[in-house]
Amino acid sequence: MSRHSRFHSALIAAIGLSIPAGSAPAAPVAGAPAELKIAVVAFLSGPASGPFGIPSRNAADVWIEKINREGGIGGVKVVPVFTDEAGPADKVVTEFRRLALDEKVSAVMGYISSANCLAVPPVADELKVLTIESDCGTDRVFEEAKHPYVFRTHAHTVIDGVGAARYVLSIHPEVKTIAGINQDYAWGRDSWEVFQRSMRKLKPDVQVVDALWPKLFAGEYSAEISKLLVEKPTVVFTSFWGGDLVTFAGQAKARGLFEESVVVVNNTGSDIKDIAPGVLIGSRGPHGIVSPDMEKNPLRKEFIALYRQKYGLAKNDYIAHGAYHFVQALQGLRAAYEKAIKAAGRWPTTEQVAAAFEGLEFDSPSGHIAMAIGGGHQAIEPAGYAILKFDPALGVNVFSEVRMFPAKCVNPPDGMKSLDWIDRGFPGAQC
């Protein structure tokens, strides 16, 4: 055997060993296609690409490789078609049609922008394409309409706002006044609405003193910070993300805003290294901030290891929540196909996969996911919150005072609109 072929044999053996026991590649079931083409849509350009888009795409890449190493889905190899989400919603919808009609993908997963998550479902239903929305926040997707072909495998933003309110009151029960500074678009508006309504319901004497609406990617917040310094609210809530969050945090720190008010951010990722200690932060579910038992989750460990191996990850860095969400989407898709194959005894139709997806439960790096609301199309997740604390030994910010609010504490019950649930005093909440 030549050195070259010995090397190849060793490589194949190593790959074989890396496949977990019991997951040897299965033979494709009857009627299976040669490959399962899946579109993966994320921001590959523009300001949302750094904090969300690229990590999400990378996560999908390593997880699809893992699925294929384990025999694919129903014995069929998964082939991703990576697509840029950048651009206005009408361009994104046109791109969806292209993926469905020209690329002939079996499923589309992705969408980070709430605007796109609202624009795509009607087209997905029209073209009968299985679609898994993978990171957007708006709670309106399944609360305003039914979409038989569309699923969302992560929780909507209500968990972030309700979680933030519950956490703020657990740490600062004396809060008197609140103010918001949020980007002027769907995510900012929805986030503030949920938080301020939750605060007023949980503590009726709380006063809203201000709501500021800078432009998305404004970058210059002198006037907003001045106004907050003049008003001195007990709590300042923001749903800023990525560059805007880091910029705001830098300008606010330099001017002493964190000394005057408690600041709470409802979504963070690897940017916590750039935020002042003392800030209250959430991570859009149990992703960056996790409970001790979640840290032991083997899928979570495997995901972090695979991501680090292929795309690099600093020792104390966190992977963006969007990346975890994309893996959840793939886990959901895989579980739905496997359930549908089992039920049909052969390769399932899109309708059979959609039927299997409804109310599905599956495991993910972020724990057990249940498609519990939105008629079985919308997942619920717990909400993790913590206070940033600088660890001099590690030289980075770490989480302190971690609290994980159970999924049924921060999500409305099935069939009830989120804002109605909040206004009615969170009926059925199990905290």
């Binding site: 350009s45 523009g46 300001p47 690409s49 750094g50 904090p51 888009g53 690229i54 002027d184 201000d210 709501a211 500021l212 609406w213 800078p214 432009k215 990617f217 404004a218 970058g219 210059e220 002198s222 006037a223 907003e224 001045s226 106004k227 310094l229 003049v230 990525g242 560059g243 805007d244 969050l245 880091v246 910029t247 830098g250 300008q251 720190k253 330099a254 001017r255 002493g256 690897s270 940017d271 750039d274």
Partner: protein, 298 residues
């Protein structure tokens, strides 16, 4: 009274930043009559290079005060390297073509430079805030202000003053005025018009990169940062009048104060303030405050 002081201070500092980021765009248009859609990318290159130099310098633990000089060096390097290349290799071919062709060309350059930034610096946010925080705070109107925006005000005044001096008090200014007034006549007078164009575009590129470099300590940099600035700059110079430095200054002040007042008194209008002002000004003066109505030659 205190509130008015705070509104004025915030408006003034924002106006300073607006002027710094839009001066290059209006200067380039004033001389070359080309609306440079790659202006935001020159800004981004200056910002990224400035941030990189500052971060590397800060890691050495050397004298923080010298970091401010690095921001100017970054701007000059970007302007002197990229400016002449764009003008000599690309723009020179389209001066006599329709505006649409010029816009398409600069837009193409913009897309290329956007990817150059991504290939060079990646997509993760970069933030070099040391020059911003190092200057500390000052208490005005009962609240804390960072000193850095006031430094930008001083630099904006210096840049505006320098441009005014060059245009009105130097031989180069007279040459520029001649070229702006009539390119053909300037050629017959022996003025090296192509050289003037290269010089003017390079100066505009340095100004754009300077706006970026000076912004780097205030903003976290991410892909697409230039596009945002381009839109804002367009609004400012449309209000002031395309090609007018004085117009850019006045436009910046009007927009700065309007936005600051909106944040205080009508926060819902924050997003809309700049465009509301632009619409009102253009409704009554389509050419902007100091713009001139151009006679189309046929």
């Amino acid at each position: 009274m205190r509130l008015l002081l705070v509104v004025a201070l915030d408006g003034l500092t924002y106006a300073s930043w607006l002027f710094l980021v839009s001066a290059g765009l209006t200067f380039t248009y004033g001389v070359l009559r080309v609306l440079n859609l790659a202006h935001g990318n020159l800004y981004a290159l200056g910002a990224y290079l400035g941030a990189t130099l500052v971060l590397r310098y800060a890691a050495t633990g050397s004298m923080p005060a010298l970091a401010y000089g690095l921001l100017f060096i970054a701007a000059v390097v970007v302007g002197l390297v990229v400016g002449p290349v764009i003008e000599r290799v690309f723009l020179r071919r389209v001066y006599s073509r329709d505006e649409e062709v010029q816009l398409l060309l600069t837009f193409s350059i913009s897309l290329i430079l956007e990817d150059v930034v991504k290939l060079t610096w990646g997509v993760n946010p970069i933030f070099a805030d040391m020059p911003y925080s190092y200057l500390g705070r000052v208490r005005l109107g009962g609240i804390n202000y960072a000193w850095y925006p006031f430094l930008l005000t001083a630099i904006a005044l210096a840049v505006g003053g320098l441009l005014w001096l060059v245009v009105t008090r130097t031989r180069l200014g007279k040459v520029l005025a001649s070229v702006i007034a009539d390119r053909e006549v300037s050629l017959t007078l022996g003025i090296n018009v192509p050289r003037v164009y290269t010089l003017a575009f390079t100066a505009g590129a340095v100004l754009a990169a300077l706006g970026g470099a000076l912004t780097a300590p205030m903003f976290s940099l991410a892909p697409g940062v230039g596009a945002e600035v381009l839109v804002t700059s367009f609004a400012v110079i449309a209000i002031g009048g395309l090609g007018s430095i004085g117009g850019a200054a006045l436009g910046s002040i009007v927009v700065g104060l309007a936005r600051s007042a909106a944040v205080y008194f009508f926060p819902e209008l924050d997003l809309f303030a700049i465009y509301l002002i632009m619409a009102l000004v253009l409704l009554f003066r389509p050419q902007g405050f100091f713009g001139e109505i151009e006679v189309r030659r046929i």
